[in-house]
């Protein structure tokens, strides 16, 4: 028993699907952009433990040594944080775009490193 939808109808459905996805994405994008909170600090979390905290406002370069012998280089510049170099095998962290809004993260799974941006209200324990 052949399904009754013709090619034309299928094509029409495709277009509707496409439009719905694009509109959803656009709406989500706008919503997120509007609710984004400005980042204030960069948290360095190694294997679940917060090891360091740096203000986003101060440019700096920090070499973070991982427990497995590898490393990541955190670069804070122009109010953004990024991983400028790393010794991990996949380099997903290094290719990640710079982060600056509260909640954004850059993760290096092999080195168990999470670079997390937090807002002004959430700055934790120590000053560096």
């Amino acid at each position: 028993m052949k399904n009754a939808l013709s090619d034309k109808q299928k094509r029409r459905n495709d277009v509707i699907l496409l439009l719905v996805l694009v509109i959803l994405a656009a709406a989500l994008f706008c919503g997120l952009e509007l609710s984004k909170e400005e980042g204030a600090y960069v948290l360095v979390v190694i294997d679940g433990e917060t090891c360091a905290q740096y203000p986003l406002s101060e440019d700096r370069e920090v070499r973070i040594d991982a427990k497995n012998g590898s490393y990541n280089v955190l670069t804070i510049r122009g109010g953004e944080a990024s991983v400028s170099a790393a010794g991990c095998p996949d380099l997903v962290c290094a290719r990640h775009r710079a982060v600056k809004a509260a909640g954004e993260t850059i993760v290096c799974l092999p080195n168990k490193l999470v670079i997390r941006i937090v807002g002004a209200g959430e700055g934790v324990d120590f000053a560096v």
Partner: protein
Amino acid sequence: MNTRTKKVALGGMLVAAAMMMSYLESLLPISLGIPGIKPGLANMVVIFAMVRLGVRPAAAISLVRVVLMSILFGSVSAAMYSLAGAVLSLAVMALLHKTGWFSTLGVSICGAVSHNAGQIVVAALMLETKEIVYYFPALAISGVVTGVLIGVLAALLLRYVPGKW
């Protein structure tokens, strides 16, 4: 040659094709700066298999491809993302294909988006980042773009590759 042997050989060939696509993709220096968003060229083969051979062979080909690629080229983390993406993508594509409401293009688009979604959700769970939501718009848009591209290619394959398979 009996049909069973034929099927095995065919499956193997398509797995190889899918792996080639995957490998090719890894050579391309394209990156949006967001982990897990890829062109998904291997999906072309999966869709082809799904239409010509059926959902089960397509699923087998897709999963074998992921496993082999991660053994040969990938890290454990990459393997998990890939697997999640492939499984979700397969489920979505099989479902849509069965309903017959969409053409290959629609199926491909949803496959691409769900592949990205699967990868990102796993990434979020593994990295305990709740703010993964930030990635969704990019994932949807890039899924649509790559989905269209792969869908067109898959449609071409389906039209021009001769044979009863």
